[in-house]
């Protein structure tokens, strides 16, 4: 078996992986990126609406800063997020937008003078200031107090990914396209790289690295109806789980996006609602204000998706031959706006629905969209239990989204995590901690085990086919582990998934094609995906509360007293059919923002006894401080700057805010 050595092996060529690579390379380390597809085809390209960063350039962004972004993100997470990580994130997001601006992303810019927008269904004229002219603009998104989402029409992810990918080319970072890591090489709690399959030739190659970073995105394809690309199967997270050492966090926290087009599940951006689009029912009644009088269509995604399904269950759905759905109305935005700022949406409607959204309504229904859970890491992206393994972006749970991610915070996270984890990977590679002594027997044995498993799959006859199992898994996940969950359905899912997992050990193939063999790929992937699926379903079954996107009909309250914690899943062994779960408490006494009402959704929750204690403590601290500026108050409540890499500790300059220069 061929062995390739490098300092840093990055698995995944989307925004997060590429940015980690650029950071590590800039610090003088050799980097190789593995990608299932040409990197510009990664799912990052599908992010449409934008990236949150508190630049505060446009009129409706005035007064925005890191503190407001922090509070929005923590509320969005339903207090599941790690507040240190959120602080690191909100401070770095403006730097990420500005770096990308310098690298060539054509962010939409503020135009001075009158700006005609739709707010709450009404056309309103705003006056943008002269001083803002030409700076990066923002649009409104769900769950935010300010217009904070920087955007490039509705091709934001595309522009970001192309710019990032071209930067990686400029830095001569090799991307090994059409390769797939199928196992991590590890021993005694140390990761040494991966066994990688060439998807064109079928050859196995060992990549040995001081640091390995998994940035393979989410695992939406364990569901039948998902906005995710077909490559989002979570194999990176699965091979981490299969080590038995690395841990997956909060796998039950799965986001459903309110506006997947019906029935294909293709995403149309939250920017549609951010820019003023409305949700309508069969009677063309705008129903969101009935449920959410404050935020209406722009509550967080978990809340809007639940309200939509609730409204459908109450008999208000429109119907087509494919089933029940609701309508998204962007007609009021007008042709000019749609042709320039929502043109991808327009194309999607044209090609997949045969409609023009300038004139017609868009049929929508919530669809699986995002994996808040993933490889559990510390704030540096490093796995605490498998050293040398890092993770960044949607694949990781470091954990800035908790149980619900805000729209616009995910492409932001990919780049921010890439910037930060890139520095930490470089620090690690600079230090003696990253020295490796690896036995060639370990490489050979790990490779041989994978080769034997693939050979067995190819040679076994009379077994079931991968696609049969894949479909059953996707169906049970969509039916039983969706937006509304309960004991009975979750138990059904767990039972079915366990049975599927056992069956997946006896698959056989119908074709023995050499080289690119899509059936073989489907077979080894479904074995891995089933492990992720059972982590999601089992975690959801055990979590007897509702938090963020995890909603239990039988336990509808958020329960801080018993469940303010993070679920940790470990895979106990090859023959296992269930993960071993444990829980990591989220300490209220260290929070800058203790739990409360989110400002949308249900007001009903069970408090933790520490919540009033911490609130009183904060009140006292603030009173004692008598602080002149927001920074010293913040520092007293949650010091975090020391957690950031040195080069990213600076304050972000803003129009109209002094003291940041």
């Amino acid at each position: 078996m061929q062995i390739i050595q490098t300092d840093v092996l990055i698995i995944g060529g989307g925004l997060a992986g590429l940015r980690v690579g650029i950071g590590a390379k800039r610090r003088g380390h050799d980097v190789i990126v593995l990608s299932l597809v040409p990197p510009k085809r990664s799912h990052s390209a599908a992010a449409q609406g934008g990236m949150q960063a508190s630049l505060a350039n446009c009129l409706k962004g005035e007064g925005d800063n890191e503190d407001v972004h922090f509070a929005d993100t923590v509320r969005g997470s339903d207090w599941g997020a790690d507040q240190d990580v959120v602080r690191m994130f909100v401070n770095t997001a403006p730097k990420a937008v500005r770096e990308l601006a310098a690298w060539g992303v054509p962010w939409n810019r503020v135009q001075r003078g009158e700006r005609s927008v739709i707010i709450n269904g009404e056309r309103v004229a705003l006056q943008e200031k002269d001083t803002s002219h030409g700076l990066i603009d923002a649009r409104d998104f769900g769950g935010t107090k300010k217009w904070r989402t920087s955007y490039v029409a509705d091709g934001t992810g595309h522009s970001m990914l192309y710019t990032m990918s071209d930067q990686a080319i400029a830095q001569s970072i090799p991307v090994h396209e059409r390769t797939e890591a199928i196992a991590l090489i590890h021993a005694d709690g140390r990761c040494y790289g991966a066994i990688v399959r060439n998807l064109i030739t079928g050859e196995l190659i060992a990549y040995v690295a001081k640091a390995t970073c998994v940035a393979t995105g989410g695992f939406g394809r364990i569901y039948r109806v998902s906005t995710n690309a077909v490559i989002n199967e979570g194999i990176g997270a699965a091979i981490a789980l299969e080590t038995g050492s690395a841990v997956l966090g909060n796998m039950e926290a799965v986001q459903f996006h309110p506006t997947g087009i019906f029935p294909a599940g293709i995403l149309v951006t939250e920017g549609c609602r951010g820019d003023g689009g409305l949700l309508l029912d069969r009677e063309l009644h705008r129903f969101m204000p009935d449920y959410e009088p404050d935020k209406k269509e722009l509550a967080s995604r978990d809340v809007v998706s639940r309200r939509m399904e609730q409204h459908i269950a109450a008999g208000h759905a429109a119907r087509s031959r494919f089933g029940e759905h609701l309508w998204l109305d962007i007609r009021l935005l007008g042709r000019q706006h749609i042709d320039t700022k929502l043109r991808e949406v327009k194309e999607i409607c044209h090609y997949f629905l045969g409609i023009d959204p300038v004139e017609e309504l868009i049929p929508v229904r919530p669809a699986q969209h995002y994996s808040m859970g993933g490889i559990r890491t510390d704030h540096t992206g490093h796995s605490p239990t498998l050293r040398g393994l890092f993770s960044a972006g949607e694949a990781a749970c470091w954990d800035m989204h908790g149980f619900n991610r805000l729209g616009g915070n995910s492409v932001a996270e990919t780049v921010v995590a890439g910037m930060l984890v890139g520095e930490y990977v470089a620090d690690y590679c600079d230090s003696a901690d990253s020295d490796i002594t690896i036995s060639s027997a370990l490489i050979r044995e790990t490779g041989a085990r994978q080769a034997a498993a693939l050979r067995q799959l190819a040679e076994r006859s009379g077994g079931e086919h991968a696609y049969t199992l894949l479909k059953e898994m996707q169906q049970t996940m969509t039916d039983n582990v969706g937006i509304f969950r309960d004991q009975e359905r979750l138990q059904t899912a767990v039972d079915q998934l366990q049975a599927l997992l056992v069956r997946s050990r006896h698959l056989s193939l119908r074709n023995q094609a050499r080289g690119a063999n899509p059936e073989l790929v489907a077979a080894y992937r479904v074995q891995k995906m089933l492990k992720l699926a059972v982590c999601v379903a089992y975690g959801a079954l055990q979590r007897t509360e509702s938090r963020g996107a995890h909603y239990r009909r039988d336990f509808p309250q958020r329960n801080d007293r018993d469940w303010l914690n993070r679920t940790l899943a470990v895979w106990p062994g090859e023959e296992a059919t269930l993960p071993t779960l444990s829980y990591e408490d989220i300490a209220i006494m260290k929070m800058e923002l203790p739990p409360g009402w989110r400002g949308y959704g249900d007001k009903d929750y069970i408090d933790h006894p520490d919540t009033p204690r911490r609130a009183a403590e904060i009140e006292q601290l603030v009173a004692q401080l008598d602080a002149k500026d927001r920074f010293s108050v913040q520092r007293a409540l949650l010091p975090y700057e020391h957690l950031l890499p040195g080069r990213y500790r600076g304050r972000n300059q803003r129009l109209g805010e002094s003291g940041n220069d």
Binding site: R41, P106, H133, H158, S159, I169, I348, L361
Partner: protein, 254 residues
């Protein structure tokens, strides 16, 4: 309101080129698959169904299946198109699918556009060349006219799907031709004030027949571009600028 258009349940015949260069026994052949049409069926749905139910060895590439990632370009009845957003109802009952020409064949309908595009990017240096590549990210960003940002995005919408290359007469004759995709990229950077390269620099990259002077103005690129980019106009503009640059060069040499 809007209802999905009714489609009759036709029996479709897909004639697909089969060839796996990794397998020494494989010879290029056309294979026919029959399938019952479903409402709103795209080639993504059809090909996935054929693979799952009829021939598990069939190779093709889909990623986003929403017309934005550029993975799935192939020849549909001889014309380059994004398969994921191609509806079967727009065609007769016989549909012929072959891989994109020019690019290296991986297997069946799957071709290696990735290598080609990376080579092109390396050759044309498709990134902002400027002093600000390691910017002070704490400071306010450089301002840009809103209209200019939109104009740059117009050209940046290219998804590197390869349709323009497959539809290009020159690309079929000259392996080193950078294609409309490459020329459009340079036009995009030329427009961008953040890129400090000048026409003399661009001339070094595309001032010959493997570049802008290789274009025969057959317009296949623009006709086949799934993003409807103004490719012909951009190439014509760039050619004028490069011709002027060539004159300067010639004059300065004499």
């Amino acid at each position: 309101m809007t209802d999905i258009i009714e489609t009759s349940h036709r029996r479709l015949s897909f004639h697909i080129l089969r060839y796996n260069p990794q397998d020494e026994s494989s010879k290029p052949t056309m294979q026919t698959f029959h399938l019952e049409e479903a409402a709103g069926m795209t080639l993504f749905v059809a090909l996935t169904e054929i693979r799952e139910q009829q021939d598990a060895s069939l190779n093709f590439d889909f990623v986003c299946r929403a017309g934005i990632c550029g993975s799935c370009a192939m020849l549909v009845n001889g014309k380059p198109a994004l398969a994921c957003r191609t509806l079967t109802r727009d065609f007769g009952a016989d549909i012929t699918l072959t891989p994109l020409p020019v690019f290296k064949l991986i297997s069946d309908l799957s071709v290696d556009t990735g290598r080609w595009m990376r080579d092109m990017s390396e050759r044309l240096e498709t990134w902002v060349h400027g002093s600000d590549v390691d910017p002070d990210v704490d400071r306010l960003e450089e301002r840009m006219e809103p209209e200019l940002a939109q104009q740059i995005y117009e050209l940046e919408r290219c998804i590197e799907c390869g349709c323009c290359v497959a539809a290009c007469g020159t690309a079929h004759m000259r392996q080193d031709f950078v294609g409309a995709v490459g020329l459009n990229k340079l036009a995009r950077f030329r427009l961008d004030p953040r890129d400090e390269r000048e026409d003399a620099d661009y001339y070094e990259l595309v001032g010959d027949e493997s570049g802008v002077f290789g274009c025969m103005t057959l317009l296949g690129c623009e006709d086949m571009c799934p993003k409807e980019l103004p490719l012909a106009g951009q190439i014509a503009f760039l050619r004028r600028k490069m011709a002027a640059q060539g004159m300067v060069k010639k004059v300065s040499k004499t």
